[in-house]
């Protein structure tokens, strides 16, 4: 008991510090992220970083729906997969460049997100969770059986690597920077959305949809819009994945992958952008660090998750009010000066 209180005191002290020096932290993290590929030359570490950042992107998108809007979606692996297949088919068969492939993936997945969200998001409660679970399975079965298009269980191989305006990129450093740029763009988009009135409305729907409606928030429209944006982000992440890994098959985009993404979002902190970074990166790296422990790996992973949920159920950075922390710390500083 004493140990956990010490731990949480340590965490809250750090958060206060972070709240006071937000800009410094962001700048520091960004510098580190940019310098990273120049400091590290190990391919394994680079690969981990690329995959980690792709999960950051997926988590950020999913956080919009799960963290900010309070709806569990188990369908994001399917969106990720549809994005991957779209990009794979277009780049391989039509020779499309990376940017149009990203765009096409976003549009196609956005349409799927809209069609799935339209009937479900009109309802309240857990319907979305159940329907998205089913959706994930349906998409997997289609990928598995639609031989002429998806090549079934054999998957699609030989997907061209990234190419922008006819210039193709093959180095790990370039993959890293492509995903880094995608992550930065996603972060800016989510941040912009969350700080806008639309974001406020989303959170109000999560906290109390009746009151939100009484305030005049068009809740159904906003829920669908957020779901579509979130799925589009997953679609672009899928398009990245296809061109990065150059081989995709249905086993990557199963219900399990959806679950992993959700765990990242929840572990890092519902409704927190730094939380999505933390959750995705930590849960990409952690299983790798534990790799030496062989079959005990998943056991330790599981125990860690359980402890985590007991100590801080809303995730490490869930519900941290940075503005308030900042104000408080500033007030205390003032007093100290006096």
């Amino acid at each position: 008991m004493k140990k956990t209180s010490k731990l949480s005191a340590c965490l809250s002290g750090f958060l206060k510090f972070a709240a006071l020096h937000q800009k410094l932290f962001i700048l520091g993290a960004l510098t580190l992220a940019i310098l990273f590929p120049f400091l590290i030359t190990d391919r394994y570490v680079m690969r981990l970083a690329v995959v980690g950042f792709m999960y950051v992107m997926l988590s950020l998108g999913l956080n919009l729906v799960t963290g900010y809007m309070g709806q569990m979606s188990f369908g994001h692996a399917a969106f990720w997969g549809i994005g991957a297949y779209t990009a794979a088919l277009l780049t391989k068969n039509l020779g499309l460049g990376t940017l149009p492939a990203f765009l096409a993936a976003a549009i196609v997945v956005g349409i799927f997100g809209f069609l799935l969200g339209l009937p479900v998001l009109k309802l309240k409660g857990y319907y979305l969770t159940i329907v998205t679970m089913g959706f994930c399975e349906i998409v997997r079965l289609v990928e598995l059986n639609w031989m002429p298009v998806t090549n079934g269980p054999m998957g699609i191989s030989g997907i061209p690597k990234f190419s922008f305006f006819g210039i193709s990129f093959h180095t790990y450093r370039s993959f890293y920077f492509i995903i880094l740029i995608l992550v930065i763009l996603t972060t800016l988009l989510i941040r912009r959305l969350i700080r806008s009135r639309f974001g406020l409305a989303l959170k109000s729907i999560r906290d109390d949809d009746v009151v939100a409606e009484a305030m005049g928030v068009p809740i159904v429209r906003y829920k669908i819009l957020a779901f579509v944006i979130s799925s589009m982000i997953a679609g672009v992440a899928g398009a990245f994945y296809a061109q990065y890994i150059t081989y995709i098959d249905p086993t990557s985009f199963t219900y399990n992958a959806s679950q992993e993404m959700l765990v990242m979002v929840i572990f890092g902190g519902l409704g927190s952008i730094p939380g999505s970074f933390l959750g995705a990166l930590a849960l990409t790296i952690l299983p790798e660090l534990l790799r030496d422990l062989m079959e005990y790996r998943m056991l330790i992973y599981g125990v860690l998750m359980v402890v985590m949920m007991l100590v801080k159920p809303d995730g490490i950075l869930g519900n941290v009010n940075f503005d308030y922390l900042k104000e408080q710390a500033a007030a205390r500083k003032k007093e100290a000066v006096k």
Binding site: R197, A201, K203, V211, E213, M215, G216, P218, D323, Y324
Partner: protein, 236 residues
């Protein structure tokens, strides 16, 4: 002229008739109390007025214009705003964000202006400005809920049980605040179980019993009526 007029309003929940034909009239600048026991249909009436519940029959007029069946958004824009039962603030929002939600349909510039006015009305909210609403005391949360409704700049404010679960001293404060709101030119329709207090500050009152209005009169006469005292004011 009547500000809000309700004619023969009927609402069904599944097979149950929650409102069986309610007539009610609110004039400009009045405080009206709706008295009634649990399950009488008070909150249903409020929610129906706001378009959150669809009526089976009847008409609602705001300033002579029919608003029955309109979207909540449109009704809020026309100047009728509800502060829902049980001080439903957004617990994880800061006080500021809670207030800004109230002005959701207004231009951001107007909202910022209104924020100053509301903070002047409720100085305690200024003190708690960036604190999370869930950490506020019950009374403060109720102030916030009302302040949030005021952010929409309503012409008519519907208050659903503003004194629910609050300490007597705080309740007194809430009722003073309601009077202040009226003095600012806002018409108030008040639903209360704490009938004695609310009748004291009201102009007129209606008594709702299982979906029907069984009495309507000046607040004073309702307060002094023996029957009402027996039924709603705890004997005396």
């Amino acid at each position: 002229m009547s500000h809000l007029k309700i004619e023969q309003l009927k609402v069904n929940y599944g097979g149950i008739q929650a409102l069986k034909g309610v007539d009610l009239e609110v004039r400009e600048g009045e405080i009206i109390t709706l008295v009634g026991a649990n399950g009488a249909g008070k909150s249903t009436l409020m929610n129906t007025l706001m378009g959150l519940v669809r009526p089976a029959r009847g008409h609602i007029y705001l300033d002579g214009e029919e608003i029955t069946g309109l979207d909540t958004k449109k009704i809020v824009q026309k100047g009728m705003v509800l502060s829902p039962e049980g001080r439903q603030v957004f617990p994880e929002f800061s006080v500021k964000d809670n207030l800004m939600m109230g002005a959701y349909l207004r231009k951001e510039k107007d909202a910022a202006k209104e924020l100053d006015t509301v903070l002047q009305m409720f100085p305690i909210l200024k003190e708690r400005f960036s604190q999370t609403a869930g950490t506020l005391s019950g009374g403060e949360q109720q102030m916030l809920a009302v302040g949030r409704a005021m952010m929409a700049d309503p012409k008519i404010l519907l208050l659903d049980e503003p004194s629910l679960g609050l300490a007597p001293l705080v309740i007194k404060e809430i009722f003073q605040m309601i009077q202040r709101i009226r003095n600012m030119g806002v018409t108030v329709l008040l639903v209360e179980q704490n009938a004695r207090m609310s009748l004291k500050i009201s102009d007129r009152a209606y008594v709702l019993e299982t979906g029907l209005i069984v009495a309507s009169d000046t607040a004073e006469r309702i307060l002094n009526s023996e029957e009402i005292q027996k039924a709603y004011l705890g004997g005396l």
